[in-house]
């Protein structure tokens, strides 16, 4: 039982990170109907930004409090990736918005290749290890919970709340939901569609940056090809939950995290990704639009 709860906690931590990245996928998909393949690499960029900020700050201010350090890593990472995603959308996706479905997908795949190779070229191909930031560990009964796990879950919860508030309660969120439902109609009613889409990209990137920084904090290592596997997992999470649905993305992220940690605990660690993908395929066979996705209305 204790072992099970332990795995549950590990899964929840991992699932929080996937969920944060999945939101970026699902928002972009909801608003412009494209798979933003470069989103996983935005997550990786967020991790690298946090890594570099960490290195600079620790070399200038040796005794900096960890809380302040983490906050700065998160904030600068969010600003940095937000700017990157804004530029990427302007340069690579916006000119193709009226084009056929596969064109932005191809530029997104190209952007993903460019971003990971850009980091490989500028920062080197080796793994970048950092010393552990948060080392406190709590023991409750036979269960071990580390402070960084608690931090990840809490930060995720706070961000999700803030995010939920923005989407559901602010004029900006209203504009986003309107754009998602009917872009042309929203534009006719005075919503600045371009701006709304840009802000959506920035928001998605900021969440991915937080996920990237926390991934770095959790595993203590960053690498240029970190974007692909977590990116695909997060995308899987978004689809599993029903792409376009925000609660679905979080649910999918948590599910994927749980499946992964439970499968590696009870079956084999080698086949954990196979299990994740197989469950995705299995769920989609019975619910072709994901768990919380709206069924597509076919119009003739």
């Amino acid at each position: 039982m204790e072992y099970f709860i332990q795995q549950l906690i590990n899964g929840l931590t991992l699932g929080s990170i996937y969920g944060l990245v999945a939101i970026g996928y699902t928002m972009v998909y909801g608003i412009i109907g494209m798979i933003n393949f470069a989103h996983g690499d935005i997550f990786m960029l967020g991790g690298f930004a946090a890594l570099i900020v960490f290195l600079i700050l620790t070399s200038f201010f040796a005794g900096i409090p960890v809380a302040l350090l983490l906050l700065l890593m998160l904030v600068i990472g969010m600003l940095m990736t937000g700017l990157w995603n804004w530029t990427i959308e302007r340069v690579a996706y916006r000119p193709l918005r009226g084009s056929f479905r596969l064109a932005p997908l191809i530029t997104a795949i190209g952007m993903s290749i460019v971003l990971s190779n850009f980091i490989q070229v500028t920062q080197g191909p080796r793994n970048k290890p950092i010393p552990p930031l948060v080392t406190d560990v709590f023991h409750v009964g036979g269960i071990t919970v580390s402070l960084k796990q608690i931090l990840i879950v809490v930060i995720t919860a706070v961000l999700l709340f803030a995010f939920w508030y923005i989407v559901n309660k602010t004029p900006l969120g209203r504009a986003q939901r309107a754009t998602e439902q009917d872009r042309k109609m929203a534009a006719l009613l005075g919503v600045d569609v371009d701006r709304t889409i840009s802000i959506t990209f920035i928001m998605g990137a900021a969440l991915a940056a937080v996920a990237g920084a926390m991934y770095l904090m959790y595993y203590g290592v960053a690498s240029f090809n970190d974007g692909f596997i977590p990116g695909v997992k997060a995308f899987t999470a978004a689809v599993l939950g029903g792409i376009g649905s925000l609660p679905g993305a979080v649910l999918g992220g948590l599910l994927i995290g749980l499946i992964e940690s439970l499968w590696s605990a009870y079956f084999s660690i080698a086949y954990k990704d196979v299990a994740t993908f197989a469950i995705l395929a299995f769920v989609l066979i019975f619910k072709p639009t994901g768990i919380l996705g709206r069924p597509e209305v076919e119009k003739v």
Partner: protein
């Protein structure tokens, strides 16, 4: 207002300066951490950093200047040209095509047939190895894969992000069956095609109800599953070490290309020993396989099944209401595409003599899909051109050792290969969103055959 935009250069220039400065600021902020700072491990293996302001300045300058030029000069120029074209009212499509244009396919085919001998003649035995193998065979493998994927994506309109799985099935079918049972290439080539087609059907079944992007992620997942199984099923596949020492193809069982064997090709023809003959032979094999793919695709498109694929791509609901069985239509598309992937895979295994899961990563699927889309989906010629440009272009980059003179001795062009490949994907897509060949002649027509621009149709075909 119109006069001021056409003649008012100060206005345009002012805007260009503003945009250029803005782009410079954005670039400065974007690259500040990633280019301005370099992280590396010192002697104690601890991560440290140093600054690279010079490189950062170059990045910022390039961004600012290119934005300035594009806003100030390139865009007004393009606008003026568009305006002039619209005013003159003459379509630029001329009825009389040039000789080269009309006979392009014949010229290309003849060139391909003489290509190995041409390179042998010009650069000699040792030099031509590179041209036949790295350029010829490599590009043709991608042409074949892209033509195979074209059946699934371009004709049937099913977005498949895991095509490399079938390539892997073909490669491992040949590698395993030939090393465990010693079957020959010519027996296993059709067999690996059939096995891949079988996998196409197996993987196609569960995804029949899925559409568009759901289909994309599930095919991606299947591609990853197959790769992960290949990595982890170490008893059979030897995992990440891969299978080496895969048998070479023989000259249709008559001569062998192994140097030690009694009836070797080289001895039979009294030639001096060189691996170039084997490469030339392989070149013709893959060329024949490509031609087979093209022939089958062209013929199938005229058959009811090919028409059903294209109808399915345009409108699935209309298709079903007209009584087309979408299940068999989708499955045959998957199976046919997978079969050609399987052929290419077994050819790849015999050419490399070594297969490992490393060769079948998602990036390969992405590259193949990019070639299909960049070529203008559905157009065989366009796809072949895209393969030559994209694959050949990155291969050329390997050869650019003269760049070392420009950028210093520790400059390695290989590092920038995929970076430039990605950039090329983006740039081609931005300028030609319909691909290289955006228009295509229809297979079914009323009275006269008329090419339609890709922008008039749903997915880019006439």
């Amino acid at each position: 207002m119109a006069a001021s935009t056409e003649t008012g250069h100060p206005n345009v220039l002012g805007k260009a300066v503003r945009e250029g400065v803005f782009a410079g600021v954005v670039a400065f902020l974007m690259f500040l951490l990633f280019v301005g700072i370099e992280t590396y491990q010192d002697i104690n293996n601890a991560l440290v950093w140093r600054t690279r302001w010079g490189l950062l300045a170059i990045f910022v300058l390039v961004a600012a200047v290119s934005r300035f030029l594009s806003v100030g000069f390139i865009k007004p120029h393009i606008d003026r040209r568009k305006l002039a074209k619209a005013k003159s009212g003459v379509l630029e499509i001329s009825e009389q095509k040039s000789f080269f244009h009309r006979h392009f396919l014949k010229i290309a085919l003849v060139f391909l047939l003489v290509y190995p001998f041409l390179s042998l003649l010009i650069v000699g035995k040792q030099g031509s190895l590179k041209y036949v193998d790295n350029f010829g065979i490599q590009i043709l493998i991608y042409v074949m894969l892209a033509w195979g994927l074209n059946i699934v994506v371009g004709l049937a309109g099913l977005l498949d992000l895991g095509y490399v799985a079938f390539y892997a099935v073909g490669a491992y079918s040949y590698a395993l069956l030939s090393s465990y049972f010693g079957f020959s290439f010519w027996l296993l080539l059709p067999m690996s095609g059939i096995l891949a087609a079988l996998w196409g059907i197996i993987l196609g079944f569960p995804v029949l109800r899925l559409r568009g992007d759901y289909l994309a992620i599930v095919t991606l997942a299947f591609g990853e599953i197959i790769r992960l199984v290949l990595i982890n099923w170490t008893d059979v596949t030897k995992g990440t070490f891969g299978i080496s020492g895969i048998a070479k193809a023989s000259f249709f069982g008559i001569w062998s290309f192994d140097t030690g064997s009694a009836n070797s090709f080289v001895k039979a023809w009294g030639l001096s020993a060189s691996s170039v003959y084997y490469k030339i032979f392989l070149f013709y094999v893959i060329l024949a396989l490509c031609m087979l793919t093209a022939y089958v695709t062209i013929r199938l498109r005229r058959m009811p099944i090919g028409r059903a694929w294209e109808a399915l791509r345009e409108d699935e609901i209309a298709c079903r209401s007209l009584g087309i069985n979408t299940v068999t239509t989708k499955l045959t598309a998957f199976a046919t595409g997978a079969m050609f992937g399987g052929f290419a895979g077994s050819f790849f295994a015999t050419r490399q003599g070594f297969v490992s899961p490393e060769s079948f990563v998602f990036l390969e699927s992405a590259v193949i899909l990019a070639i299909v889309v960049l070529g203008g989906m559905g157009s065989l010629t366009g796809i072949a051109i895209a393969a030559v440009v994209m694959v050949g272009g990155t291969e050329v980059l390997r050869e650019m050792s003269f760049l070392k003179v420009v950028f210093g001795p520790d400059f390695t062009p290989e590092l920038y290969r995929m970076l430039l490949f990605g950039l090329a994907m983006i740039i081609v897509m931005l300028f030609k969103p319909r691909g290289f060949v955006g228009s295509r002649e229809p297979t079914a027509f009323l009275k006269e055959r008329r090419a339609v621009s890709g922008s008039f149709t749903k997915e880019g075909h006439g």
